[in-house]
């Protein structure tokens, strides 16, 4: 069964550094998403992406964050200047249509030192 893959599985970065999290969504899906889960808390929506542009974003997704689909397969989340509070699991997801089940990757654990 096709799956969403994320790399790296764990990223350790110094505060203030830029980090790029990578995702390969399911190939025939059209909608792409990023979520984050701070340890012990609920999964929170960050951003959705469709037709090469952001569909919507949450309050968390401020100017420090950006997303890109640089080619036909990858979907990336960039955090420009990381803060300690950015430490979390970041999940990528994709779906064939909006409002339909989303398929999640296993996440990237981001640790900011």
């Amino acid at each position: 069964e096709p799956e969403v893959t994320q790399t790296p599985s764990h990223q350790v970065t110094q505060m203030g550094q830029e980090v790029i999290l990578r995702c390969v969504p399911i190939s025939n899906h059209l909608y792409f998403y990023w979520y984050r889960q701070i340890l012990g808390q609920k999964v929170e929506f960050l951003v959705s992406f469709y037709n090469n542009e952001i569909s919507e974003k949450s309050e968390i997704f401020d100017d420090q964050f950006s997303v890109e689909r640089p080619d036909g397969s990858n979907f990336t989340l960039k955090i420009r200047s990381t803060k300690l509070e950015d430490s979390a699991m970041y999940f990528c997801a994709s779906s064939a249509e909006s409002r339909q089940p989303q398929h999640f990757g296993d996440g990237t654990r981001l640790s900011i030192l």
Partner: protein
Amino acid sequence: SQQGEEDPQALSIQEGENATMNCSYKTSINNLQWYRQNSGRGLVHLILIRSNEREKHSGRLRVTLDTSKKSSSLLITASRAADTASYFCATVGGQAGTALIFGKGTTLSVSS
């Protein structure tokens, strides 16, 4: 917040017993979805119930939806140790209807 809380927060049962988890939400919905998360892994979609449906089955899973009470329940019958995971309900939110809004989840432990 669009999403309420799942209850219970934690549930421990023996293999073979049934597990029931409840979820509440606050706004009108198009559908409600249940996901499972094994420790250290991503979320896996289990079942979707539309707002005009009251009950849906998938294998050992049964989901009910009461839109008048803005609540849903997930029943896992004849539980197995492999069902040990966190379970989340999610509704679709946001102006574009693309964001999944999750509750805090129920952590289920099934012992053999």
